[in-house]
């Protein structure tokens, strides 16, 4: 298979994982050797996260095998995972979280060691991160948490990491920080480490990956050197009929009256798509949450809601974990079809089925539990929840987190169509590419609006300039 001095760190042999009738992984063979930097791509629900879980031992394969060279378990073999759903302990400090992962860290003085180790790791990967290792995780922004989790993944923890699996690590990082990570991955692989990098952002994958593995419906459909793929070829391999890139904004200029104005200066007109940008954690999410809370009541059951919310931080803000997909979708429209306060269950089922097809939720039955969906498909459910509601203003807090390329195009089109029909969108995104599709963009810095861009001014450079300007001046 491979040459003798670099035995595979992990090798999967025809490994499969079934959840009841769902074949999440349907016989996958994969070998990761030192120095490999594998880009793992595939549509939402292709089985990427399941593959990660098989490798790190969180799930046992239904058939086939997973073998390690450096020990019997992933831990012993130096295999680390950074999960798609954030998995730190929010009540502990950053350093204490390292202690959780570093099971061998013991004895007096462990706090000092933990502190030094995590700080070292953060400094290496994200120079100038500004994270205090003594601060509790729940006081950090989602981007900072993601950074901490990545830093823990790469930290030595007793033995150097040999393989780090990153499941959509950049989904809540802004471009600058994501670049720092990509840089580090390249260096790590150059020094003989191995990385499995999962992302829906093709640019990133092409930048770091030496080899790209494409998963489709639980099977590997392509595995080649990155250089052998073209961008379009990759998207084709993933099996998505990419919606023809609808001609972008800039043509439509007639907007209705102003429907949103906040103290901060955030404004939006009827039919407008307003973007919020800037570095992650600079107050965009808070501004949107405040707007949502001020426009909806916790006491009055509005028959016609003014605003709806699409969450990006799924476990914290979006998913009702005990419920089915159906109930997760219908929660925002229950009030409308109700007669005598009773739920119209036929209408409810109709709406859920309709959105399942419209937005392409990968499940055979909407009465399945929501947690049986892959991360990206859960996100689609949240979209469906919001778009099904008749509210004129849609607030979106980084809603494309973990959504695959094909679906993204579909959702963009859907948003534009809804906007044309008179809905207003407020859209915070960590991806500049998305923000550039908006009609107007507010750039945030230090919890304040530092720039308002329109039309042709909406460019990556202008946004970056407005995000950073003070830091450069000082």
């Amino acid at each position: 298979m491979t040459d003798h001095e670099s035995a595979p760190i992990v090798s999967l042999d025809n490994a499969a994982k079934h959840f009841g009738p769902v074949k999440a992984l349907d016989g996958v063979s994969l070998v990761v050797t030192p120095g490999d930097c594998i880009g793992l791509v595939g549509h939402n629900g292709a089985g990427k996260s399941t593959l990660v879980n098989l490798i790190n031992g969180a799930l046992a394969p239904s058939s086939g095998s997973v073998g390690f060279s450096g020990g019997t378990s992933a831990n012993e073999a130096g295999v680390r995972s950074v999960f798609q759903e954030l998995s730190l302990c929010p009540n502990l400090t950053v350093a204490e979280n390292l202690r959780i992962s570093h099971t061998a860290l013991k004895g007096p003085g462990w706090r000092r060691h933990a502190r030094a180790e995590i700080l070292q790791s953060l400094d290496t990967i994200f120079p100038g991160h500004g994270i205090d290792p003594m601060s509790e995780v729940d006081t950090l922004s989602i981007a900072e948490r993601q950074m901490v989790e990545i830093a823990i993944g790469f930290a030595p923890r007793g033995m150097a990491a040999r393989l780090v699996i990153l499941d959509e690590p950049t989904s809540s990082l802004d471009a600058g920080i994501a670049d720092q990570l990509l840089e580090h991955i390249k260096q790590f692989c150059a020094k003989g480490g191995a990385v499995v990098f999962i992302s829906h952002m093709m640019g990133e994958v092409f930048e770091v990956a030496s080899r790209i593995v494409v998963l489709k419906d639980g099977r590997i459909v392509a595995e080649r050197d990155a250089a052998d793929f073209t961008r379009q070829g990759l998207v084709d391999a993933m099996g998505h009929v990419t919606a023809e890139a609808a001609d972008t904004a800039g043509t439509r200029q007639e907007f209705g009256p102003e429907v949103v104005r906040t103290e901060q200066g955030l404004t939006a007109r009827k039919g407008e798509i307003v973007g919020l940008s800037g570095l992650a954690g600079h107050g965009q999410a808070a501004a949107l949450a405040r707007l949502y809370l001020s426009r909806s009541s916790a006491f009055r059951p509005g028959t016609s809601p003014e605003v709806v919310f699409v969450a990006g931080d799924r476990p914290r803000d979006g998913v009702l974990p005990l419920w089915s997909i159906l109930r997760n979708i219908s929660i925002s429209v229950l009030g409308q079809g109700a007669r005598h306060g009773l739920v119209d269950r036929d209408a409810e089922a109709r709406i859920a089925d309709q959105w399942k097809t419209r937005i392409g939720i990968r499940t055979d039955d909407v009465t399945n539990p929501i947690l049986s969906l892959s991360g990206g498909n859960q996100q689609k459910v949240l979209f469906a929840r919001a778009l099904a509601s008749p509210a004129p203003v849609v607030i979106m807090d980084d809603p494309m987190r973990g959504v695959d390329v094909g679906t993204k195009q579909d959702v963009y089109a859907m948003i534009r169509a809804e906007a044309a029909r008179g809905r207003t969108f407020l859209w915070y995104s960590t991806e500049t590419e998305e923000v550039c599709q908006c009609d107007r963009v507010f750039v945030f810095r230090d919890h304040e609006i530092s720039a308002e861009l329109t039309g042709a001014d909406i460019t990556e450079e202008k946004i970056l300039e407005a995000s950073f300007v003070l830091e450069e001046a000082s």
Binding site: S87, L88, C89, R99, I100
Partner: protein
């Protein structure tokens, strides 16, 4: 992040100080070695029970059987431990182990702790009635001596409270395993993913709760000199209130051992403060509720400050 929200311990400390000042103002005689001991010595078992409850709340569970358990321990201490110390110790050890087992069962079968501990409260209460059908028994002499010792400078109650807080703090906040235990409350899934045997951690947390529950029962007997099957039933609710008063939260592994001990002292002091007020007997019970509400209302200041951040 505001200063107050970061340092949750300030609230319990301030509540206790204010209440203490008010008590001293109402009853200057309390401001003495003798007075402080009288005010606080019955808080020692409550503080221990509060730490026990905190161990359970730390892993996102709640223990409705703690009062019955402490009563049972008190009955064992006042009878078997007093008559045949070796057998008594063995039984107390078995009780701690059964607590640990309870934790493991709750985790393994994924049943809510509130249910199991509710059932266990009947079991402990029944066993206590077996051992001591009517009040009685006697405290072992060494225990009585220990609980009535008069250390220099500060009375036993104060010294004991400081020691309890210190030990619990070292165990839960400073030590490595304590950190992992808090991690179980914060995010059990990630602790499991890191390779920790969560079932054993849960058993450990429950075992520690059992240990502190046993200490609470023993301390209680040392003070009261005898026991009955109902002696500590109130501790269930008192201990929960103490944990919350001390800045703990029901979910998420956010607990403060020092705060919990201070919470227990505050609860005890609140009752005394009221009796110094000499209310009409109709309202004495209600006033206890009012004071509890008042003390907890101070949390509001912290919440609002915290929410702004």
């Amino acid at each position: 992040m505001s200063f107050l929200a970061r340092h949750r311990i300030i609230l319990p400390v301030v509540s206790l100080t204010v209440l203490l000042a008010a008590t001293f103002y109402m009853q200057p005689r309390a401001m003495s070695y003798f007075g402080l001991n009288l005010l606080f010595n019955l808080a020692v078992p409550i503080a221990l029970a509060t730490i026990a409850q905190m161990m359970i709340i730390m892993v996102n569970d709640i223990d409705l059987s703690l009062g019955a358990f402490v009563s049972l321990v008190a009955c064992v201490t006042a009878t078997i431990l007093n008559d045949t110390p070796a057998l008594g110790l063995l039984i107390l050890l078995a009780l701690i182990l059964s607590y640990a087992l309870l934790g493991a069962v709750i985790h393994a079968l994924e049943i809510p702790a509130i249910v199991v501990t509710l059932g266990m409260s009947f079991v402990w209460g029944g066993l206590a009635l077996f051992i001591l059908p009517s009040p009685g028994g006697a405290s072992p002499d060494w225990l009585r001596t220990l609980m009535t010792v008069k250390p220099p400078f500060a009375p036993m109650a104060v010294v004991a409270s400081v020691i309890i807080a210190l030990v619990a703090h070292l165990l839960i906040i400073r030590s490595g395993i304590g950190t992992v235990l808090r991690g179980v409350g914060g995010n059990a899934r990630s602790v499991a993913q890191a390779g920790w045997p969560v079932i054993r951690l849960k058993a450990l947390a429950y075992g520690l709760a059992g240990l502190f529950g046993v200490l609470a029962g023993m301390a209680l007997v040392g003070l009261t000199t005898s026991a009955d099957a109902n002696i500590a039933l109130r501790y269930t609710l008192l201990s929960i209130a103490g944990v919350i008063l001390g800045g703990g939260e029901f979910i998420g592994g956010k607990v403060s051992p020092t705060g919990a001990v201070i919470g227990a002292l505050t609860l005890t002091l609140a009752a005394s403060f009221l009796s110094f007020l000499r209310l009409s007997s109709d309202w004495q019970i209600g006033a206890q509720g009012a004071v509890l509400i008042l003390v907890l209302t101070a949390r509001l200041i912290f919440r609002q400050k915290g929410a702004e951040a």
